[in-house]
């Protein structure tokens, strides 16, 4: 597997989700995929921008896409589901409306990026054969539910990513690595996202429902592709258990960390120990 991509990590992968960044880089290195971080990339604006100014919410992501194009790259990979959605939405909107296009190039002081394609890592790893060839370690005993969250697939008109109500891309990828994944009902249900800091009760309730269904189908780990989903399911899990008098003990892992484990990359190079809910018990015997 080869390929060269402009890499947009986004703010979370440089801070709260650094383990998603290091595991993604480690996996790409193993697969011979070259990542070039976009020089001077800026925040995509996320919910605070699109909730308050449509123009701002399109201008911010476009600037980073423009910088990628300037580096001579057309394929931009964004692992954070929220960044992925904002970059894709901005590109979609800007190319659909000539009046908006003029305003935006005035704001950016440059012509708009035209020939860029925004991709998620799940799309670049979709070639199952090459991925399967790289596997050196079996991961028996893992029963994983894949949690896609909201923004990888929604809204489908813009995202055009997998089946919006019941996606399978992450399941198929992990299965091709020999990891068992389970069917469940909360693949694309919302975790409350950015409400963690403001409407915490909403997050605790929505996340409880997700953890409960994961447990009910017999999962012993959750795989995610979004730093916000991860923060809500992992860092808030103890609080949820306390509030609802429940016991989940479900480690939440980025799918790139699971890939890394299957590729034989040592756990400490995948940031496994940075999670609040420890995966050591689950992975003992595997990571040795």
């Amino acid at each position: 597997m080869t390929g060269r991509y402009a890499y947009y990590p986004g703010c979370s992968l440089h801070s709260t989700a650094a383990e998603y960044d290091i595991s993604f880089r480690a996996v790409c290195e193993k697969l011979g995929i070259e990542l070039q971080e976009i020089k001077g990339w800026i925040c995509c604006g996320t919910s605070p921008a699109h909730s308050t100014s449509r123009l701002l919410s399109i201008a911010l992501p476009l600037e980073s896409l423009r910088l990628a194009e300037k580096m001579g790259l057309t394929d931009v990979v964004a692992p954070c589901a929220s960044c992925f959605a904002r970059l894709k939405t901005a590109h979609h909107e800007a190319t659909a409306d000539p009046e908006l296009e003029a305003k935006l190039s005035d704001i950016l002081d440059a012509p708009l990026p035209k020939n860029v394609r925004v991709l998620h890592p799940l799309e670049i790893f979709a070639n199952g054969e090459a991925v399967a060839e790289t596997v050196t370690r079996e991961l028996p005993g893992l029963k994983v539910v894949c949690y896609y969250g909201c923004l990888l697939t929604r809204p489908p008109k813009v995202m055009q990513f997998d089946e919006c109500e019941y996606p399978m891309s992450m399941d198929n990828l992990l299965r091709s690595l020999g990891i068992e994944t389970l069917d469940w009902s909360y693949k694309t249900d919302c975790c409350g996202g950015a409400f963690a800091l403001t409407e915490t009760d909403v997050v605790l309730k929505l996340t409880r429902d997700i953890l409960e269904d994961a447990k009910a189908v017999g999962a012993n780990a959750i795989a995610v592709a979004c730093p916000l989903c991860h923060a809500n399911l992992d860092t808030r899990q103890a609080e949820i258990e306390e509030k609802y008098e429940a016991r989940f003990g479900l480690p939440v892992l980025y799918f790139t960390q699971l890939m890394g484990l299957a590729f034989g990359i040592p756990a400490d190079r995948l940031g496994i120990r940075r999670h609040f809910v420890g995966a050591e018990g689950l992975l003992s015997g595997i990571t040795a």
């Binding site: 703010c11 979370s12 440089h14 801070s15 709260t16 650094a18 001077g40 990339w41 800026i42 925040c43 604006g45 996320t46 919910s47 605070p48 921008a49 699109h50 909730s51 308050t52 100014s53 449509r54 123009l55 701002l56 201008a59 911010l60 600037e63 305003k103 005035d106 704001i107 950016l108 002081d109 909201c150 923004l151 929604r154 809204p155 489908p156 919006c164 109500e165 249900d189 919302c190 409350g192 996202g193 950015a194 409400f195 800091l197 403001t198 409407e199 915490t200 009760d201 909403v202 309730k205 929505l206 860092t235 808030r236 609080e239 940075r274 609040f276």
Partner: protein
């Protein structure tokens, strides 16, 4: 006093929402899929369906006093499922944008404070500086104890940076300035 006897085809609010978002709420035939699928509707005072209808009727007070749009998690389930292809989540964004512009006091002020603190961080640093944003949010909401323990644990795990990066800060300042200018120009015209 002269009576206004004609009923306008479209309420002013529906018109404003259309200008802001390109969304035509009059396409709604009240099927209720948005309300049924909304994961946060249990905490709202009006369902998204009711807000759409109130926008159509021009019930400004009901819309702007409601908690609904401030509780929208932007999960896009409503937008995905609307058979009339109304982008409901974007209507929620439009209503928030209009409310802030008109100086309406948000029914859930801490959500608006979160937006302001986040945007200030992005504008000043080019990239989100989480720790600074959280301190800013606490200064705006006077809620200093909330999540303090969690914050300490995150710092220990190295999940929060202690210092901001300034990469791109000049660019974001320029973008924010020009967006503001263009938005006030288009309102003036």
């Amino acid at each position: 006093m002269q009576l206004e006897l004609t009923i306008p085809a479209q309420s002013e609010l529906a018109e404003a929402v259309f200008r802001e978002s390109g969304q035509n709420v009059n396409l709604c035939f009240q099927c209720g899929k948005c309300a049924a699928g909304c994961p946060v509707s249990y905490a709202m005072d009006y369902t998204p369906l009711q807000i759409i209808h109130a926008v159509r009727l021009g019930l400004d007070d009901l819309v702007f006093d409601s908690k609904t749009m401030w509780l929208c998690a932007s999960c896009e389930t409503c937008t995905t499922r609307c058979p009339q292809e109304v982008d409901v989540a974007r209507v929620m964004d439009a209503v928030k944008t209009i409310a802030l512009r008109r100086g309406v006091k948000p029914a859930i002020p801490r959500v608006a404070s979160f937006y302001k603190a986040s945007l200030a961080s992005i504008r000043n640093f080019g990239r989100m500086f989480e720790l600074g944003m959280i301190v800013d949010l606490k200064l705006r909401t006077f809620d200093f104890l909330k999540d303090a323990g969690l914050g300490v644990k995150m710092l220990r795990k190295g999940k929060l940076k202690l210092f901001p990066s300034f990469t791109g800060a000049r660019t974001t300042r320029r973008i924010f300035r020009r967006v503001k200018r263009l938005e006030s120009e288009s309102r003036g015209s």
